[in-house]
Amino acid sequence: MDKKARVRLLAIAFVGALVAQAPAFAQQRLTIYSAYENSQIAPLTKAFEAKNPGVAVDHFRQPGEELLATIELELRARSPKADVVGLNDASIAYLQRRHDAFEPYAAKDVDKARVEMRSLQNVFTPAFVNLYLIHYNTRKISEADVPKSWAELADPKWKNQIAMADPSSSQSVQSFVWFIADHLGKSDPAKFGWDYFKRMGANGVHLESSHGTIRDLTVSGERPIGINLLANAQTAKNRGEPTSNIWPREGVPGELSAFGLLRASKNKELGKMWLDFVISPEGQGLMPASLGGAPVRNDVAYKYPDGSSLDQVKIIPVDSAFISENKRTQARKFHDAVGK
């Protein structure tokens, strides 16, 4: 390369670096932070963009706990960049309590959501119900053999076969931890409570930072059993992976996934349009194919990925208030029990 060409190359690289900072072409842009995968939220955002020409959605995804930290830091730096935040209701409550971060908004049709799904002050707009289940690789484990209850997972038979999420990174797993340690711990202390996680630790449970990675480990067979969320069982199904799921007989913790409008948003009108869309029949109808959860409206038909219907699954609503207030302590107790 001659001297001129090299100089030119450097110049181009440098100019490129500067240009990259220039804002993208003007358009109305809605910025959403959420814990949902790009590919999961894409059908929803695409439908929203189709419905509202001239609007583009920027989506930024992180595992829930990490996303909470990002939002809190942005609030601290006084430069919140999101308009709308998608998390579970416990995390939204947590942000609201600490930062008064959300602007209440009563979305159109929000009264069509089941009443237990609704936020009292309309701090959030409910989106879908996310349930815990046992996700398994059908090529590694036969349907007859697969554990049918949460309790069976602690059986040494499944040593080094199971993965679950780590509360240092994941927000949702707090629901599962509450369900096992506090909810079942009270009703069946012999099998559950914190000792359950001690046994899981001894059983070599693998902790991952996000439920998506757990799904991938189950799919590849590296961890043929995953304590996973409905949404991920649904995406695996959608991708044609050799997996299925079990609804354990003790029941399953159900957490509510929702969206909230940030007070600091400079795009509140667009944000409200998004919230309206999420709860609309069209948005709710897209939930299983997109975010993978169950709709919050009764007037939208739904079946679980294994074919069972809503009434066949025993859902235990989680105590979001308890979780949002105690999540640090819960995480520490969990780590102490698992021993990692």
């Binding site: 430069s79 991938d216 961890r223």
Partner: protein, 565 residues
């Protein structure tokens, strides 16, 4: 009559250069490290509370122990694996010497988390292909193992190729530069080849051995990607977790502990390289022409070299390529399970494209500024005999001892608090740019320094006497004569900055996702294993291509002009 320039005037320009270099280093190095040091020691007055908390937390203690274990393991194993390979390449007629050397460089610049991904696929205890093969071949009854990558030893294995590369690249030139007469004298005195290696060669190599091992040690301390993917509790991971909990004191204290550990390694390293320079003055020339051992010995080294290249490049990246082509990872090696869909999905993803643009811009801007300012600092340190240049020298080397994760915490602390939060850098391009500049400062300064040391000052003096001012001399003589080194520095920084992860993961913002943070996100479920492999292979291929370009430029430059006498 030409009025004479006064004393003051002639000193002005060097002083300006000094001031620019000092401000540059102060802004990028002294401020963040100093701020975090103070921050970790204060809380309404001076206190060691954050450190007490650190050492009282069993999880953090374990993390520290794990970090040290892994770093020490990598250092020791790097010596055991790297020394024979280096000896084979430098001293025997083994085949594939250039292949092994090239593999070392590829390993050094390709991002460590790619190898982690590949090894998880290969050596995952349940479904790892390598484990499945082992169980089939040896008819093992277990469903799991025998290898388990999700352990500290797994992490050591993952980090090993990087360490071996550091070690190898430090040792080969040292082995080549030993005056053969020293060994021949030992043989003439009656020592056998093994005794000669033990009593003459190895002691002469000690500084190079030590510096290579220390680089491997501190490199392993600083890793973020592999332990993140292997879910292991080491300090870099704890630091990030502290940040996720928004516990800045804990993150700062843990970062300081990590920095102090690698600083200790760095001090030892500096010491050993000084010694190496002292050893090298024997003749100061290269003896690469010597013929090495042939026959069976060479054949044994050939086998070793091939096994190594297979283990660190062919098998892992081959495995990743295979996975990246699967439609469904769960369906494995079955007919009809193959397509380029994952590549299409990844390369077509606007988020990936945006990240690629950002990473290329960041890397290019970083490489440019680091190279330019590296030259300025090196020029001030080497050429201008001004007071306080040792300070600049030290400041420019400190970033080598600051793991990216710790640096990111320091920058977060600085730019989230007054007064510098007023700059509004946090969460944007600016803070990543600052982090990258700091991380790679040393490469720019070092490359320019070693090139300037080799460049006789007489070339510049001839220009001054010939009628050119100091600045003009730099432009017309110094820079053109150093261009090879500068282009090399630019490419090196570009290649290293492109997949930067450990600082980016902490400092990225919504609009500033980099290639590696997106990859980690895809790995973390946002796309899945197969897409992550497709993305990883694309990155690997890009890095490989850049290396080829760099090698071509280096070859061309060295084949053209000879510099110095």
């Amino acid at each position: 009559m030409a009025r004479g320039v006064t004393k003051r005037a002639i000193l002005d320009r060097p002083a300006i250069a000094w001031a620019i270099a000092a401000l540059w280093l102060a802004y990028l190095v002294a401020i963040p490290i100093g701020y975090m040091t103070v921050d970790s020691l204060t809380d309404d007055g001076l206190t060691l509370a954050a450190y007490v908390d650190f050492f009282e937390d069993p999880k953090l203690r374990t993390a520290m122990r794990n970090s040290l274990t892994v770093a020490a393991g990598v250092a020791v194993l790097s010596v055991l694996v790297g020394a024979p390979l280096a000896f084979g390449v430098a001293r025997t007629q083994m085949r594939g010497r250039s292949l092994v050397s090239a593999a070392m460089i590829v390993c050094l610049v390709s991002p460590d988390f790619l190898l982690a991904m590949a090894y998880i696929a290969l050596a995952g205890p349940n479904a790892g292909y390598f484990n499945q093969a082992l169980r089939a071949v040896f008819e093992l009854k277990t469903e799991s193992g025998p290898l388990n990558i999700f352990t500290l030893w797994g992490l050591v294995l993952t980090a090993l190729p990087h360490g071996v590369s550091y070690f190898f690249l430090a040792l080969v030139p040292a082995l080549r530069n030993v005056d053969p007469a020293l060994e021949e004298a030992s043989r003439v005195q009656g020592a056998g080849p093994i005794e000669t290696i033990r009593d003459v060669t190895l002691p002469l190599m000690r500084p190079a051995l030590l510096s290579g091992a220390l680089l491997a040690f501190s490199g392993s301390l600083a890793m973020y990607g592999p332990p993140h993917m292997l879910r292991l509790n080491v300090l870099t991971i704890s630091i990030r977790e502290s940040l996720v909990r928004l516990d800045f004191k804990a993150a700062s204290a843990a970062s300081m502990v990590l920095i102090l550990m690698s600083l200790a390694a760095l001090v030892l390293y500096r010491h050993s390289t000084r010694q190496a320079e002292r050893f090298r003055t024997v003749g100061g020339k290269s003896f690469s022409e010597r013929a090495g051992a042939e026959g069976r010995i060479a054949a044994a080294f050939t086998v070793l070299g091939i096994v190594y290249v297979l283990a660190v490049l062919v098998v892992p990246y081959g495995g990743m390529t295979v996975i990246s082509l699967m439609k469904s990872v769960g369906m494995g090696f079955s007919a009809g399970n193959w397509s380029f869909d994952n590549y299409r999905a990844v390369l077509g993803d606007p988020a990936v494209r945006k990240a690629a643009t950002l990473s290329v811009s960041l890397a290019a801007a970083t490489a440019t500024l680091v190279t330019v300012m590296g030259f300025v600092v090196a020029y001030v340190v080497i050429r201008l005999k001004l007071r306080g240049r040792w300070l600049l020298d030290y400041m420019s080397i400190i970033p080598l001892a600051v793991p990216g994760t710790a640096l990111a915490i320091a920058l977060a602390v600085v730019y989230l608090n007054p007064p510098l939060n007023a700059l509004g850098l946090y969460g944007g391009f600016g803070i990543l740019f600052v982090a990258y500049l700091t991380r790679f400062i040393t490469f720019g300064v070092r490359t320019s320094q070693s090139s300037l040391i080799q460049l006789s000052p007489e070339f510049e003096e001839a220009s001054r006497v010939g009628g050119a001012s100091g600045l003009k001399t730099v432009a017309l003589i110094t820079l053109p004569m150093m261009r090879q080194a500068l282009v090399y520095a630019w490419l090196l920084v570009f290649v290293l900055a492109l997949p930067e992860l450990s600082a980016s993961i902490i400092l990225k913002g919504i609009h500033t996702q980099t290639l590696s943070t997106v990859l980690l996100d895809i790995w973390n479920g946002n796309g899945g294993l197969a897409q992550a492999c497709a993305f990883g292979m694309t990155m690997f291929a890009s890095v490989g291509l850049l290396l080829l370009i760099a090698a071509a430029i280096a070859k061309r430059a060295s084949g053209g002009l000879r510099i110095g006498t």
